[in-house]
C-alpha cells in the first residue's frame, strides 16, 4: 500500500516475549492481548482497544510503554477537542513579539517566513508523538468522546504517520510509534477509523486470570483469599446488574479485605464490604440476595 512505511526493527520477537515483558511490569495479558500488541508492532498499525470500563485498557498502553522503556504521550479526548489541542498551534504571542521587535528592518517576506517556522510552533500530543526522536507510545484515550467530525483529525496520523501543516508542509514521523486508542463504546466509531486500526476487545478476565491479577496487584494476600475473591466476583458478574464490578474494583475489594485482616470470606463480611465492589444500591441488594449473603438460619 502507498503509505510511508519506515524500515524499522520490530520491537518484539514473539508473542511470548510481549507476554513476558508485560508480566515483568505487572500487567497480566492473555493470549489475545499479547497477540494483538505483537501484530500492532509488526504491521505498524494502531490498536483500538474497546471494552467495559475498568478492565485495564489505559493500563495496557502504559504498561507497554513501561516495558519498552518508551515515553508515553497521552491525548485525553473530550467533547470539543480540536486541532489546536490535539495537533499543533501557532504561538501567537511570540509571533506578535517577533513582528514588533524589529518593525523597520525586515521585509514582509522575511518576517512571514520567519514567524511560520518551527520556533513558533507549539506541538500538541499528536504532533509531538510523531516528531519525537526517542521511542514513544501514543495513547489516545477515550476516543469515543470526541465528535465524529473530530475523528477525522486522527485519520492522517493513524494511517500515514504524518501531520500536514499548511504553512510548513508535511511533517513525517521519524519513527513509527505504537499507538493505542481506547474506547468505552459510548458511540459507534466511524468506519474509516476502525478500518485503520487493529481491534482488540478487552473483556473482564476469566476467573483464573483475575485471581492472578489480584495476586500480583495486592501484596500480602493469601492464595486462598484471592481464589475466593475471584470466584465471588465471577458469580456476581453473571447477575444482571446495572454495573458489573470492574477489575479495579475487584482489586480495591481485595485490598480492603486484606486491611481488615480477613483471610476467609464469610457471607456476613462479604455483605458488609459489597459496596466497594458495586456502586448501585439495587445492585448491592440483588447480589446479596442472589449469593445468599443475607443472614439466614
Amino acid at each position: 500500500m502507498g503509505m510511508a512505511q519506515l524500515d524499522q526493527a520490530p520491537r518484539f520477537d514473539s508473542v511470548q516475549q510481549v507476554r513476558d515483558g508485560l508480566r515483568s511490569v505487572n500487567y497480566l495479558a492473555d493470549d489475545g492481548i499479547a497477540g494483538v500488541v505483537y501484530l500492532a508492532d509488526r504491521l505498524q498499525k494502531p490498536v483500538l482497544v474497546e471494552g467495559p470500563a475498568g478492565t485495564g485498557k489505559t493500563q495496557l498502553a502504559k504498561s507497554v510503554a513501561e516495558q519498552l522503556g518508551a515515553r508515553l504521550i497521552r491525548l485525553q479526548c473530550y467533547e470539543g477537542l480540536d486541532e489546536s489541542k490535539a495537533l499543533y498551534e501557532w504561538n501567537y504571542k511570540k509571533q506578535l513579539l517577533r513582528i514588533q521587535a524589529d518593525r523597520n528592518s525586515d521585509s514582509w517576506s522575511d518576517v512571514s517566513d520567519d514567524i511560520f517556522s518551527d520556533e513558533f510552533l507549539l506541538t500538541r500530543p499528536l504532533l509531538e508523538a510523531i516528531s519525537a526522536p526517542d521511542p514513544v507510545v501514543l495513547l489516545i484515550d477515550e476516543v469515543d468522546r470526541v465528535e465524529v467530525e473530530t475523528e477525522a483529525l486522527l485519520l492522517e496520523i493513524l494511517s500515514e504517520y504524518q501531520v500536514s501543516i499548511p504553512e510548513l508542509g508535511t511533517i513525517t514521523a521519524k519513527q513509527i510509534p505504537l499507538v493505542f486508542l481506547t474506547s468505552n463504546n459510548t458511540r459507534e466509531l466511524s468506519e474509516a477509523l476502525k478500518r485503520r486500526c487493529l481491534f482488540l476487545h478487552v473483556d473482564y478476565p476469566d476467573m483464573e486470570r483475575e485471581k492472578q491479577i489480584v495476586l500480583t496487584k495486592v501484596p500480602d494476600i493469601t492464595e486462598n483469599l484471592a481464589d475466593q475473591i475471584a470466584r465471588i466476583v465471577r458469580s456476581i458478574r453473571q447477575l444482571e446488574l446495572k454495573k458489573a464490578p470492574s477489575v479495579s474494583e475487584t482489586i480495591d475489594w481485595a485490598r480492603t479485605l486484606v486491611l481488615l485482616g480477613i483471610d476467609h470470606i464469610e457471607a456476613q463480611q462479604a455483605k458488609e464490604t459489597l459496596h466497594i465492589l458495586l456502586k448501585y444500591q439495587t445492585d448491592i441488594a440483588k447480589a446479596a440476595k442472589e449469593l445468599s449473603m443475607e443472614a439466614k438460619k
Partner: protein, 478 residues
C-alpha cells in the same frame, strides 16, 4: 491457504460482517507474521484485523470453527496411537484393579457407559481440561449416532449426546461431593459459588461436545455447506417475534450497550442544537468587560422541550417479546423524556407506570408487568378495540399537546371491532401518534391484521422487527 482465507472472508461477509478490502489485505499480512501452527494466535490475528465490533465476535468464532476446525495437531479427527486420555484411563484402571481386582484395559472405546459417566464425573470434579476434551470426543462418537451424508442439523446430534449423558444429575452429584468434602452443610454463599464453578465446567464440556460435532459435520459435508447451515443473524438483526431462547439472552445483552449509546447520543444532540437568535441582554451584559463594545455576541440556545411519552403495548403471546424490549429500551433512556407512562393490554388494559417507578431494576419491573398486570377482560385473546376504548375512557384526558403516544402491536385483532375512532381522537389531542409493528411489512393487513385501519389515523406506522429498526425509531423520537 490463500483460497481458504478468501473463502473464509466471503463467508464472514455472508454472515453480515462488514469486511472491507483493506481489512482483508491486513488479515493476509497479519497471518504472515505469526507461526502457522499456533491456532490461537492465528485466530486472534484474523479477529483483530477482520472484526471491528464486539457484537460480531460470536459470528466470527462460528465461521472460524467451521473453516479451521480441522487444522492443528490438537484437533485432528483420527486418534492415532495413545492419547493423554488413554494414558490416564490406564492409570485409573491400575488403581481400580488394585481395589477390585478387575479391569478391562485397552482404550476408551471399551468403556461401559457407567465407567464413562464415572470418568466424566472425575474430570468435572477436578476441572481436568484434557480429560474433558477426550471425553467429549468419546461421547459424541458413542452417543450422537452420526452417519455420513445424513441431512440432520448439529442440534439434533447435540441433543442425542446430551440426553445420554444426563448432565443435570451430574451437577447434583458434584454438589453432593462438595458438601461431603466439608463434612455436611455448605453455607448459602459457598453453595452458590460451588454451583457456579461446576456450571461453568459443564458449560465448557458442552461447548467441547458442540465443537466436536461441528468438526465431524465439517469433515463430512465440507466447510462451505456447513457454514451455510450455521449462518445466524447478528444480534441486532434477530427478529423479536421468532427469537429462540438463546437469541433472547443475546438480545438482552446487546440491549444494554445500545441504550447507553443511545442515551449519550441523544443527550449530545440536545446540547448541540443549532444556534438560536441573538440574546440581546446577555450580549450587552458581556460587553461591559470590553468597555461597552459588544465584542462577544451571545445567542439564545433553543432548549427543545422533552416529549412526554405514553406507551400502549399489546403483551399477548406472539408480540410479548417485542413489547418487553421496547419497554426496556424506553425506560433505559427515560431521562430523555419529561415523563413516561406505560400501559399494557391483551383484551383488557392496565397502567404499569408504577412498576417502573417503584424499582430501579427494569428486569424486575418487566417481570411484574408479565405476572401482575390486569390485562385480561374476557378470554385473553387480543382485542385492540376494547383495549383502546378503555384507554380512552380512563386516560384519554391525560393526553395533551406535549404527549407522544406509541402504540405497539401487530394489530391482529381476532376479528373484533377495530374502534379505530379512538386512535383518531388521540391523534387530535396528542402531539404525535406512532404505531410500531413487529411483523414484516408484507404480512400487514393480511388475515386478521388491521394495522391499516389504525395506521390511517397515526403519524406513521413503523416496522420494528429487530433491534436495529427499534433503535432507529427511538432515536428519531427523542
Amino acid at each position: 491457504m490463500l483460497d481458504l482465507l478468501n473463502g473464509f472472508v466471503a463467508e464472514l461477509r455472508n454472515a453480515g460482517l462488514p469486511v472491507s478490502l483493506t481489512e482483508n489485505l491486513d488479515a493476509m499480512e497479519a497471518v504472515k507474521q505469526i507461526p502457522i501452527e499456533d491456532r490461537d494466535a492465528f485466530k486472534y490475528a484474523l479477529g483483530a484485523t477482520l472484526v471491528k465490533s464486539n457484537s460480531h465476535w460470536r459470528a466470527f468464532e462460528t465461521v472460524f470453527e467451521v473453516y479451521f476446525s480441522l487444522r492443528g495437531p490438537h484437533y485432528s479427527l483420527l486418534e492415532d496411537g495413545t492419547t493423554d486420555a488413554d494414558e490416564m484411563w490406564r492409570e485409573m484402571q491400575e488403581q481400580n484393579r488394585q481395589g477390585e481386582g478387575k479391569g478391562s484395559g485397552g482404550g476408551m472405546d471399551s468403556l461401559t457407559p457407567e465407567e464413562l459417566a464415572m470418568m466424566l464425573y472425575q474430570a468435572l470434579l477436578n476441572g481436568d481440561q484434557a480429560m474433558m476434551r477426550a471425553l467429549a470426543k468419546q461421547s459424541v462418537q458413542r452417543f450422537a449416532g452420526m452417519e455420513p451424508g445424513r441431512p440432520v442439523g448439529g442440534t439434533y446430534y447435540l441433543y442425542r449426546t446430551l440426553r445420554n449423558l444426563d448432565l443435570d444429575s451430574m451437577l447434583e452429584k458434584l454438589m453432593e461431593a462438595s458438601r461431603q468434602e466439608v463434612g455436611g452443610e455448605l453455607t448459602g454463599l459457598e453453595e452458590r459459588l460451588e454451583k457456579d464453578e461446576y456450571d461453568s465446567r459443564i458449560e465448557q464440556f458442552k461447548a467441547e461436545i458442540e465443537s466436536e460435532i461441528r468438526r465431524r459435520l465439517v469433515a463430512d459435508r465440507g466447510a462451505e455447506a456447513m457454514a451455510k447451515t450455521l449462518r445466524k443473524p447478528l444480534p441486532e438483526d434477530v427478529e423479536f417475534m421468532h427469537a429462540s431462547r438463546d437469541e433472547m439472552i443475546n438480545l438482552r445483552k446487546a440491549l444494554q450497550p445500545l441504550t447507553r449509546k443511545l442515551a449519550a447520543r441523544l443527550a449530545r444532540k440536545r446540547r448541540h442544537g443549532r444556534k438560536g437568535p441573538l440574546d440581546f441582554r446577555s450580549t450587552v451584559r458581556h460587553s461591559l468587560s470590553y468597555g461597552g463594545v459588544p465584542a462577544e455576541p451571545k445567542f439564545k440556545y433553543p432548549r427543545p422541550a422533552k416529549p412526554e411519552l405514553m406507551v400502549v403495548a399489546d403483551i399477548s403471546g406472539s408480540v410479548a417479546a417485542f413489547a418487553r424490549f421496547t419497554l426496556m429500551l424506553v425506560y433505559a433512556i427515560q431521562g430523555q423524556f419529561s415523563k413516561v407512562r406505560s400501559f399494557v393490554f391483551i383484551d383488557g388494559l392496565d397502567e404499569v407506570t408504577e412498576y417502573f417507578k417503584t424499582t430501579e431494576d427494569i428486569q424486575e419491573a418487566i417481570h411484574r408487568v408479565n405476572t401482575e398486570a390486569d390485562v385480561v377482560w374476557v378470554d385473553g385473546h387480543s382485542d385492540y378495540g376494547h383495549a383502546f376504548e378503555v384507554f380512552w375512557e380512563k386516560y384519554g384526558r391525560d393526553v395533551g399537546p406535549k404527549t407522544t403516544v406509541l402504540l405497539l402491536g401487530d394489530a391482529r385483532n381476532n376479528y373484533h371491532a377495530s374502534q379505530s375512532w379512538v386512535v383518531k381522537e388521540i391523534r387530535q389531542k396528542a402531539r404525535h401518534v406512532y404505531w410500531l409493528n413487529p411483523e414484516p411489512k408484507s404480512y400487514w393487513n393480511t388475515g386478521d391484521s388491521i394495522v391499516g385501519d389504525y395506521g390511517a389515523h397515526t403519524d406513521g406506522v413503523y416496522e420494528c422487527r429487530n433491534l436495529r429498526q427499534l433503535e432507529g425509531f427511538v432515536e428519531k423520537l427523542a
